[in-house]
Amino acid sequence: MRRFFSHIIFLFILSSFGAVAHGDTVVAVQNIRIRPFQEAMRGFKSASRSEVKDLVISGMTDAKIARKIAQLNPDLLLAVGTTSLSKIKTIKNIPIVYMMILNPESILTPEDPVSGVSIHVPYEMQINIFLKILPEMKTVGLVYHPDRSGYFVKKAVNAAKKAGVDILTEVIYHPKEGPAKFQHLEPRVDAFWILPDISVITPETVNFLLLTSFKHRKPILSFSEKYVKMGALAAVTMDPFDIGMQAGELAEQILKAGGNKGSQRMDARKAVIFINDKIAEKFGIDIDQGIRKRARP
C-alpha cells in the first residue's frame, strides 16, 4: 500500500516537471559506481554532446529518485545497469536509454518505449571467434538453466549450427547439479562453453569444471576475463567503453528526433577477446596469430 502511494507521488512529480523539460541534458542513473560502469560512462560522454549529470540512487526510495530526477529536469534518462533500469522504467514522459545490461528483456516488455544497448555479444560473433581459436572444434558442451538462459541457449545453438558446430546441452534446475552435468558431458565434447548463468556459474561448479578441463584437456570458452585468468582458454566479452559509445550515439539520435524514436534495442557491436596463452600451450593449441593480435593482454 505504501509502495503504491509512493509510485503515485513519483509519477505526479515526474509529469509536472516533464512539461518543462528540454534538449541536451542527460541524467545518468546508476545504482553503484563500479569500474565497468565508469568505463561505459566515459564512452557515453565521448559520443554524446549532451550535458551528462550523474545520479547515484543506491539507498534511495522511488519517490526520492523521482524528486531528484524532477529537480534535474533531464531531456533523457540513461539507465546504467539492471537495477537502475528497473527503478526508472516506469517514467513515460522522458525518453530512457539503457546500457550495461545483459538481458533487458527480463525487465522490459517489447512495448516499453525504452531503447538501449545490452552487454550481450552476438553468438554468431562469439562462435566465429571461438572457431578461429579452436578450428578443430566440432562439439561444444553447454550446461544451462532453462528458465534463466533457455532463450540465449536457443540462439547460441542456432548460431553454432550455422557455423558447423554442434552444441551438446545439459539442463539443470539447481546449481548443485552443475558438476555432475559437466562430468557427464566431458567425454562427448571438444570444449566447454559457459554462459553468464548464475545457476551454472558458481565457484564450486567453476572449480570442478576447471579441474575437469585440466584433467581431460578440454578447453573452456568463457564470457569473462575473470575465468580466463582462472584457467579458461578464451573469453569473448563486451567492451564497456564501446557499449557507452553505442549508447551515446543512440541517445543523440533519440534527442535529435525529439525523444520519439520508438524502442531500439541492440547488442554489443564490438567483442573483446582474452586468451590464456599458458593454457593454450599446455593443451597444445596453436592460436591463430590474427586472433592473438586482437586479443587483449
Partner: protein
C-alpha cells in the same frame, strides 16, 4: 637385612647423607619426569588435535564440490584420500540438512549414536570431540554465496562474498597411535629417569663421600690419638667447616704429641732416676750389710769370746758371776744372729753365692718359718738367666710380695710357680688370703696405698716385664710376672 640397613643409617653419616641426597635426586627426577611426560603427552595430544583439525579443514575444502553437488562419486574421491591418512578410522559426510551423503571406513557406533541421539548438530566452525578410543573432528563445508544476478557475472566487483554452509563432515581418528606414542614416551622417560638416577646415585655417592670422608678421617684420627697417643696429620682438602675442624684437630694432635713426648721423656728420666735410686739403695744396703757383718758381727764375736774367757775364769774361781756371764753370752749370740739376718736381708749374699733359684727357695723357707704359712713351690732352675741387677729386682719383688702376704693376706696356703716359657720366665704367686680390690688399691693416692704396689710396678718396668695382679675380696690374690730372659740358658 632391614635391621642392618637401619643400623647403618643410624650409625653412619655417609649412609645418612647418601640416602638424603638420593631421596632428593629421586624426588626431583621423578617430579621432572612426571612433568615432562605430562607436558609431552599434552603436546602429543595437542599435535594430534591440531593435525586432525588441519585434516578436517583440508577435507572440508576438498569435499566442497562433492558436498555441493551431493554427488557420491565425486565425494568418494575426496573421502578416499582422507581414509588413506594414518589413524583415520572413517569419514562421514552430511548435507546442510543433516542427511548422510556418504560414510566410509569405520565410524564407531558410539559417536554415531551420540550424533544421532543429539540430532544433527550444525557446527559453524571446525571442532573436535574426544572419546575413549578415538577423536571426532568435524567441520562445516562452506561456500561463497556467489553472484546474485547474471549481469554480476560480467562485473567482478558485484560478486557476493557472503559464505554459507552446504554440509558437514566428520573424521574419526584412532587414539591408538597417540596411546602408543605416549606409552613409548613414558618408556623413554623411565629409561632416561633410570639413567639419571644411576648417574645421580654415583654423584650422590661421591658427594656423600666428599662430605663424610674427612669426618671419618677425623674420627679415625681421634680414635688413634686416644689409643696410641699420637696420630699423623690429617690432610686438609677443603676450606669449609670440616677443613677448619681438621686443621684444629691437627693443631691439637701436634700439641698433644709434644706433650706426650715430654711425658715420655719425663717418664724415662723418672725410670732412670728410680733405677739409680734402687741401685743406690742396693749399694747402701750392701755397704750396711758388710758393715754389720764385718764390723758389728766381728765386734760382737770378739765381745762373746771375751765374755767366754771371763766366764771360764770365774767358773774356775767358783765365782757366782759366771752364771751371769753365760746368760750374757746367750744374749750376745741372739744379737749376732739378728745382725746376720739383718745383714742378709739388706744384701742377700745367697743370691750372688748360690743363685736366684736358691735365693727364692731360702726366702720361702724363711717365710714359712716366720709366718707359719704353708707354701707349695714349683720352681724351674732359673739361675744364670738374668743379670745380677735383674736377679736382685726379681728377688726384691718376691721379698715384697711375701712380706705383703705375711703382713696383710691372712693366708693359710701359698702356691709359687716359676716356669721357663720360650724366651721368658713366668713367676706366679697364688694365695688363699682375704684378697683386695685391685682397682681401688691402684686409685688410692701414694700416701694411702704406700709404695709397695708402685715399687712392684716400677721393678717390673725395669725388668721390661709384664706384671699383673688379680684379686677379689675374700677370694685370694694371684700375682703374675712375666720377664724376658736377657741371658742364654746355661
Amino acid at each position: 637385612m632391614d635391621f642392618s640397613l637401619i643400623k647403618n643409617f643410624n650409625e653412619k653419616l655417609f649412609v645418612k647423607v647418601f640416602v638424603l641426597l638420593m631421596g632428593l635426586i629421586f624426588f626431583i627426577s621423578i617430579s621432572f619426569t612426571a612433568l615432562f611426560v605430562r607436558n609431552q603427552a599434552n603436546a602429543e595430544t595437542q599435535a594430534l588435535i591440531k593435525n586432525g583439525m588441519v585434516l578436517v579443514k583440508v577435507f572440508a575444502d576438498t569435499s566442497v564440490i562433492g558436498v555441493y553437488s551431493e554427488n557420491r562419486e565425486l565425494l568418494n574421491k575426496a573421502v578416499a584420500g582422507v581414509t588413506k591418512v594414518e589413524g583415520v578410522l572413517g569419514v562421514a559426510v552430511y548435507n546442510a540438512d543433516g542427511g548422510l551423503l556418504t560414510q566410509i571406513g569405520r565410524t564407531p557406533a558410539v559417536e554415531a549414536s551420540t550424533i544421532n541421539q543429539e540430532g544433527f548438530r550444525p557446527w559453524n566452525t571446525p571442532y573436535s570431540m574426544e572419546f575413549k578410543a578415538y577423536y571426532v573432528f568435524g567441520s562445516p563445508v562452506v561456500i561463497k554465496a556467489g553472484f546474485l544476478t547474471d549481469d554480476a557475472l560480467l562485473f567482478e566487483t558485484m560478486s557476493n562474498d557472503r559464505e554459507r554452509i552446504i554440509g558437514f563432515i566428520n573424521i574419526f581418528l584412532d587414539r591408538k597411535n597417540l596411546i602408543m606414542q605416549v606409552r613409548a614416551l613414558i618408556l623413554k622417560s623411565i629409561l632416561i629417569w633410570i639413567i639419571f638416577l644411576v648417574i645421580g646415585s654415583v654423584v650422590a655417592f661421591f658427594l656423600a663421600r666428599g662430605v663424610t670422608q674427612p669426618l671419618y678421617r677425623l674420627t679415625e684420627g681421634v680414635k688413634t690419638l686416644g689409643e696410641a697417643g699420637s696420630v699423623q696429620k690429617i690432610s686438609v682438602e677443603t676450606e669449609d667447616e670440616i677443613g677448619r675442624l681438621a686443621q684444629a684437630f691437627n693443631q691439637m694432635s701436634e700439641s698433644l704429641s709434644k706433650r706426650q713426648s715430654a711425658l715420655v721423656d719425663s717418664e724415662k728420666t723418672l725410670r732412670f732416676l728410680s733405677g739409680q735410686l734402687f741401685k743406690a739403695q742396693e749399694m747402701e744396703r750392701k755397704r750396711l750389710s758388710i758393715e754389720l757383718h764385718d764390723e758389728l758381727g766381728q765386734g760382737l764375736a770378739l765381745l762373746k769370746h771375751r765374755f767366754r774367757l771371763i766366764e771360764t775364769i770365774l767358773s774356775k774361781d767358783g765365782h757366782s758371776a759366771s752364771g751371769e756371764c753365760k746368760d750374757t753370752i746367750q744374749d750376745i749370740d741372739q744379737v749376732i744372729e739378728n745382725v746376720r739376718r739383718l745383714s742378709r736381708d739388706l744384701s742377700p749374699s745367697i743370691l750372688e753365692d748360690l743363685g736366684l733359684s736358691a735365693a727364692i727357695s731360702w726366702l720361702i723357707e724363711r717365710f714359712q718359718r716366720r709366718y707359719n704359712i704353708q707354701v707349695y713351690l714349683d720352681l724351674d732352675n732359673i739361675d744364670f738367666l738374668f743379670s745380677i741387677e735383674e736377679q736382685t729386682n726379681i728377688y726384691r719383688m718376691f721379698q715384697e710380695i711375701f712380706n705383703n702376704i705375711g703382713k696383710h693376706a691372712e693366708a693359710s696356703l701359698v702356691k709359687v710357680c716359676v716356669k721357663i716359657e720360650q724366651d721368658s720366665v713366668v713367676f706366679v704367686v697364688d694365695d688363699d688370703g682375704k684378697g683386695f680390690d685391685v682397682e681401688e688399691a691402684k686409685n688410692l693416692n701414694i700416701d694411702e696405698r704406700g709404695i709397695g704396689l708402685a715399687a712392684l710396678d716400677e721393678r717390673a718396668n725395669m725388668l721390661r716385664g709384664v706384671f699383673e695382679i688379680q684379686s677379689q675380696v675374700q677370694a685370694g690374690t694371684r700375682i703374675e710376672l712375666k720377664v724376658p730372659m736377657t741371658k742364654a740358658e746355661a
